[in-house]
């Protein structure tokens, strides 16, 4: 039994690794990486973190990073994406520390630093929440080509917004994208690639 197990484990580790590599190659290769010429997505910004401190693109650069725009009055995509990213950071293990992750609100009127702080307490503590003035949010959304718009409901409003996860390299240049519809496997291999090459 013990002998069998000691052989099985390395074998299965090898098989999983080989399969992961195959999946990664199959999924990532057909998508051309646009690294050669700089894609005009991303750029400098000036925001406030969920700790209430000033936060700029300089605080993200130095490591590759993932940026996602959303809002807390969001029933589905925003908490689900933050949940997925939390699982991803755990799955990345020590590599997760080589990555920054930011959640930028498109609803600064309601998403104060305090609210972001309590909201993000459900997720990986490495995810930073960012808010700002209406102008600051409009400016960073423009940098990332992110669309957002208020939609009135009964005496209230909700937001339409671009749900892309932007993957940026350590210099703050565009590296690729992911989104909440991708499987965990695809998203994680993209994040692994980003850690390695970004």
């Amino acid at each position: 039994m013990i002998l069998k197990r000691s052989l099985l484990l390395p074998l299965s580790v090898f098989l999983v690794a080989a399969l992961t590599l195959l999946v990664t190659v199959l999924l990532l290769v057909p998508e051309p990486q646009q690294n050669q010429s700089r894609v005009p997505i991303g750029g400098p910004f000036r925001l406030t973190s969920h700790e209430g401190k000033p936060f700029t693109e300089a605080d993200l650069k130095g490591k590759p990073f993932a940026v996602f725009f959303g809002f807390t009055h969001c029933p589905e995509v925003c908490p689900t994406t933050l949940y997925d990213l939390t699982q991803d950071l755990q799955a990345l293990g020590p590599d997760a520390d080589k990555l920054n992750v930011a959640f930028i609100t498109v609803d600064p009127a309601r998403d104060t630093p305090e609210l972001l702080k309590s909201y993000l307490s459900s997720f990986d503590p490495r995810i930073v929440g960012l808010t700002g003035t209406e102008e600051e949010i409009a400016a960073v959304a423009k940098e990332y080509k992110v669309y957002f718009r208020k939609v009135p409901t009964d005496g209230d409003y909700t937001m339409d917004h671009t749900a892309t996860i932007f993957l940026m390299d350590s210099k703050g240049d565009f590296y690729g994208t992911s989104n909440f519809q991708e499987s965990d496997e695809v998203r994680r291999s993209k994040l692994q690639q980003l850690v390695k090459n970004g």
């Binding site: 949940y83 909201y119 939609v151 409901t153 749900a163």
Partner: protein
């Protein structure tokens, strides 16, 4: 309630009541509601007063009914009267001691026309199951009024009254009677998702199948930890996630299933009072045009959940 009826108008109204007893009364479209739940009242005004157009429709919200919210109406101006309640009630764990006690729509409705006036309110547990809640209504015309304000005494047949106030009878929904109240609607797997602290909204998902012969329409609902429940439609437009309120409810044709699920329709729990936690169950209601108010129990699933049962999407 202000009723500016001269002695002459009163006589005229009395004569009218005697001479034309066949005229339809002002009634609610749905005359049944779940106890201690939000009720959507659709008042049906079948005619004017003595051949004249109706210029004003006033509803008095009785004691024990709280959080009344009128629906604005195109071409009509809306006024509400607020006053302290006689008693203090609790809503979402918080004391409520005042609110809307009267609603007035002002506009014009031809005598020969029919119209509906809509409001929503919470009928508190001040009214027991089996009792009837009366909402006195006054129709004001250029010359006089129609006062639908008579409340039957105990044991009195409301049909013996010439101008009964429209009433809603409370029908207990749980257990065996739930399916009776739901009629031919089968409601499956209501679930919600855990929310982060501070989140003001949550999503509700379920499937409703119409096994009957008649179409019905989901028009609203309630959730104990939410200020109100809206129906929303979500869609992915390229990379943009869009969400918009559904106007006028959702029809369920015979033999069809209406599905609320991630990425499509959802019930949106607005103004959450506290976070939803995985493992909890919460009783809410759904309000249908024909089947009335139906109790549903939502199971709260973990934050990563994409369905009522355990399986990961894709």
């Amino acid at each position: 309630m202000t009723s500016s009826s001269s002695a002459g108008a009163l006589v005229a109204a009395a004569l009218l009541a005697v001479s034309t007893p066949a005229l339809a009364h002002v009634t609610f479209e749905t005359a049944r509601a779940a106890p201690n739940a939000t009720y959507k009242g659709v008042l049906r005004i079948p005619h004017g007063c003595n051949g004249q157009p109706t210029l004003k429709v006033q509803v008095r919200i009785p004691e024990g009914v709280i959080d009344a919210r009128p629906m604005p109406k195109a071409g009509w101006t809306l006024e509400t009267a607020r006053a302290p309640y006689a008693k203090t009630y609790r809503q979402h764990g918080e004391p409520v001691s005042e609110g809307v006690t009267g609603i007035t729509w002002s506009g014009s409705l031809e005598d020969g026309h029919y119209d509906e006036f809509v409001f929503q309110a919470r009928i508190t547990d001040a009214f027991a199951a089996g009792s009837t809640v009366h909402f006195p209504v006054v129709q004001t015309c250029a010359n006089g009024t129609e006062e639908w304000t008579q409340i039957p005494a105990a044991e009195q047949d409301p049909h013996s009254l010439s101008h009964p106030a429209p009433g809603v009878t409370l029908v207990a929904a749980p257990g065996a009677s739930a399916s009776a109240t739901a009629g031919s609607l089968a409601i499956e797997q209501p679930w919600s998702r855990a929310t982060p602290p501070g989140a003001k909204v949550g999503g509700g998902y379920l499937r409703i199948t119409n096994k009957g012969q008649e179409p019905d329409r989901l028009v609203g609902g309630s959730f104990p930890l939410a200020g109100r429940v809206e129906m929303h439609e979500m869609s992915l437009d390229g990379t943009v996630m869009r969400m918009k309120p559904v106007q006028g409810g959702l029809a369920i044709e015979p033999g069809r299933t209406l599905e609320f699920k991630p990425g499509g329709y959802h019930l949106m729990f607005m103004d959450l009072k506290e976070p939803l936690r995985a493992g909890q169950t919460h009783k809410g209601t759904l309000v249908f045009e024909k089947a009335g108010t139906v109790e549903v129990e939502y199971a709260v699933r973990p934050m990563g959940a994409q369905g009522a049962a355990e399986h990961k999407h894709h």
